[in-house]
């Protein structure tokens, strides 16, 4: 395992660290979670700062190692999260960059990089979750437009998005993976209705999106008609690569804060709690090493992280839940107070074994695609 860095990578880290140290103290605090327009402006503003400083395209332009350094340093410095820019920078953007025409790349990529437009993701449907290929939202051709009908669910940032990367069924007669197309849809198009969904943490982090005769220009289709499944897989494999790098760094910081808090309150004297924290420290250290390992593989394999991301997601999502359950042990009765730190994080950690493919589906992927076991039932 190679943990050494090239002089260029060392220089990149030093430059970024110095820039962050100069910029972050003057940054206003993030708006409250319920202030969606405020969050949109804040997240886009941060992306603009990154862009102006030359870091705007680090998620796609840079090598996996440089990207990892970026995620590590921004997290360590406490820089804002990618937030509302997530889908644009990490899903739709990379897909358009890989599969779009010259015209499409020129239209959509610069506003993402400059922090001007927000994208959301219209993949999951009420009857197509882990089984994404079961999606039923229909699009039929009407001249140079598609007319789209159906509904999408779990769409983050739908309330403030300009565009939606939308998966639709364009050939209902074809085998289910073959009749799907990838469209870029304007969220202010007539016929688009957004209904926010409240999570168990009390906030509205995602929405249902209803589509009634929404007209999308055929020119807004990325990739060939009915080739949307393959186009989408390019995006999803991107997601499962270094997606959790920043979060693993964040969890390691939380662990240190938990230890300090336990020392302060005297909970540290409980050996069972100390050992739980020690075990989590070992685990998150290993997860960081696994992230570095995956990045090394991506570096050698030419960029797009593969299904080994499923291994990381499985281990990380469960470790994160144990981390916040242990936080509750540190807090004692205060773990029931929503105003205490880590309590909301504990609630939101429950989504990690579900979002972007449940742990059960991830195990199927590992069993069938890595271990080569026969297709399950």
């Amino acid at each position: 395992m190679d943990l050494t860095h090239t002089p260029e990578e060392v220089e990149f880290r030093a430059r970024l660290r110095a820039w962050l140290a100069g910029v972050l103290p003057a940054l206003p605090p993030p708006p409250p979670p319920e202030d969606w327009p405020g969050r949109r402006a804040y997240d886009l503003g941060w992306q603009r700062r990154l862009y102006d400083a030359g870091y705007g395209d680090v998620h796609w332009g840079a090598s996996p190692t440089v990207r990892l350094i970026f995620l590590e340093e921004t997290e360590r410095a406490g820089a804002p999260y990618v937030g509302a820019c997530f889908v644009g920078l990490l899903h739709a953007g990379p897909t358009i960059a890989a599969e779009g025409t010259e015209t499409q790349r020129e239209r959509w990529l610069p506003p993402i990089l400059r922090g001007e437009e927000v994208w959301c993701q219209g993949f999951s449907e009420p009857d197509a979750g882990s089984d994404l290929a079961a999606l039923r939202t229909r699009a039929h051709r009407d001249g140079d437009h598609y007319v789209v009908n159906g509904s999408k669910i779990w769409t983050s940032h739908a309330e403030v998005a300009d565009w939606c990367e939308l998966l639709v069924r364009t050939d209902p007669g074809a085998p289910r993976h073959r009749g799907i197309s990838w469209l870029a849809m304007r969220m202010d198009a007539p016929g688009v209705t957004v209904r926010p969904l409240r999570t168990l943490a009390g906030s509205t982090e995602f929405a249902e999106v209803f589509l009634d005769d929404v007209r999308v220009p055929v020119a807004h289709r990325v990739g060939a008609e009915n080739d949307g499944w393959r186009v989408t897989m390019v995006t999803l494999s991107f997601e499962r690569g270094t997606a959790f790098a920043g979060e693993v760094v964040a969890c390691r910081r939380v662990l240190r804060e938990l230890a300090a808090e336990a020392r302060r309150t005297g909970r540290w004297d409980d050996p069972a709690l100390r050992r739980a924290l020690g075990g989590l420290h070992a685990e998150f250290r290993a997860l960081w090493r696994l992230t570095q390992w995956n990045v090394g593989e991506a570096e050698r394999g030419g960029g797009v992280p593969g299904v080994t991301g499923s291994v990381l997601k499985l281990a990380y999502s469960h470790a994160r839940q144990r981390l916040y359950d242990t936080a509750a042990e540190v807090l004692g009765a205060q773990a029931l107070d929503l105003d205490r730190p880590w309590v909301l994080d504990r609630l939101s950690s429950l989504s990690y074994t579900i979002a972007a493919g449940t742990s059960q589906i991830q195990r199927n992927i590992v069993a069938e695609r890595i271990l080569g076991l026969p297709k399950g039932r």
């Binding site: 020690g278 250290r285 080994t308 199927n364 069993a367 271990l371």
Partner: protein
């Protein structure tokens, strides 16, 4: 290096030799020991100026992974650590043992004993391939010994995962391979997740050699080896419970290795204490 060790072990310590070794408890194959010496297994990290191979911990970890995969018997860690310090250890001419976590392995067969083994009491060892003595007290574990043990555990975890997958692919029940059942698939998937996570931890610890990295690797590798052997046993059904099938040897050896660095709780305490120190 790894391919060399794997090739040597495949040729000299295959399924037949493993079975023979189980039937002759307490006996160490001195010819194989010398061949390991000749292949550089013990002299791996000794400088070339001292007649060694001149490689480092990352290469040693790969070699010990192979030993763990193959269930190679003998005081491998103690003899490796004695290379350059005890005459004949580097070449595989001397079998060297010493205390590890309150136990001594292969005390009766060793030519040289390093460290204090006063008051050693023989046990009826759970593992037919590892004779054991118990000591009145356990000393502090050597970091390199902890890491090389973790490497053996990692090799064992990789092997039991492979065995489980092979069986799940070929064994048919209800008209299909048992590996087509999700309940079996998910056992195998979790084995791989634990092995891959432990592998990253062990290989990184071999590069940094820092105490927190080494003890993290130890905890992850112990877990991957012990749970891997148990899940492999489960996937094999009744066959997994037989003396004939090798998985019980992986489980029993893994249990012994979990004691070499002292109780797991000590590594957890070390990891906890590291959370209060300055970030590395």
């Amino acid at each position: 290096m790894r391919d060399g060790v794997r090739e040597l072990l495949a040729r000299r310590f295959g399924p037949r030799e493993l079975r023979d070794a189980v039937e002759r408890p307490g006996h160490l194959d001195r010819g194989l020991w010398r061949e390991l010496g000749a292949a550089g297994f013990f002299a791996l990290r000794l400088p070339e100026s001292e007649g060694g191979v001149g490689l480092g911990l990352p290469e040693a970890v790969l070699a010990f992974e192979e030993a763990g995969r193959a269930l190679l018997p003998g005081p491998l860690v103690a003899t490796h650590l004695a290379a350059g310090r005890v005459p004949g250890a580097a070449e595989g001419h001397a079998v060297v043992t010493g205390p590890l976590g309150g136990l001594v392995e292969w005390l009766g067969e060793a030519d040289v004993v390093r460290g204090d083994t006063a008051g050693a009491v023989p046990l009826r060892s759970v593992d037919p391939l590892t004779p054991l003595h118990r000591l009145p007290a356990a000393g502090a574990p050597d970091l390199v010994a902890v890491l090389l043990t973790a490497a053996e555990q990692l090799g064992s975890a990789g092997r039991t995962c492979e065995l489980a997958v092979q069986h799940a692919r070929t064994r048919e029940q209800f008209g299909r391979p048992v590996g087509a059942f999700q309940a079996v698939q998910h056992l195998c998937a979790d084995m791989l997740v634990r092995t891959r996570t432990a592998r990253a931890a062990v290989h990184a610890a071999a590069v940094t050699a820092g105490p927190a990295d080494v003890h993290a690797a130890r905890l992850l590798a112990d877990e991957a080896a012990v749970r891997g052997a148990r899940d492999c046993l489960q996937v094999h059904g009744g066959m997994g419970f037989t003396w004939e099938f090798e998985v019980h040897l992986h489980l029993k050896r893994a249990w012994i290795r979990t004691r070499r660095a002292g109780p797991a709780t000590e590594s957890e305490e070390l990891m906890a204490a590291a959370l209060l120190e300055k970030e590395d």
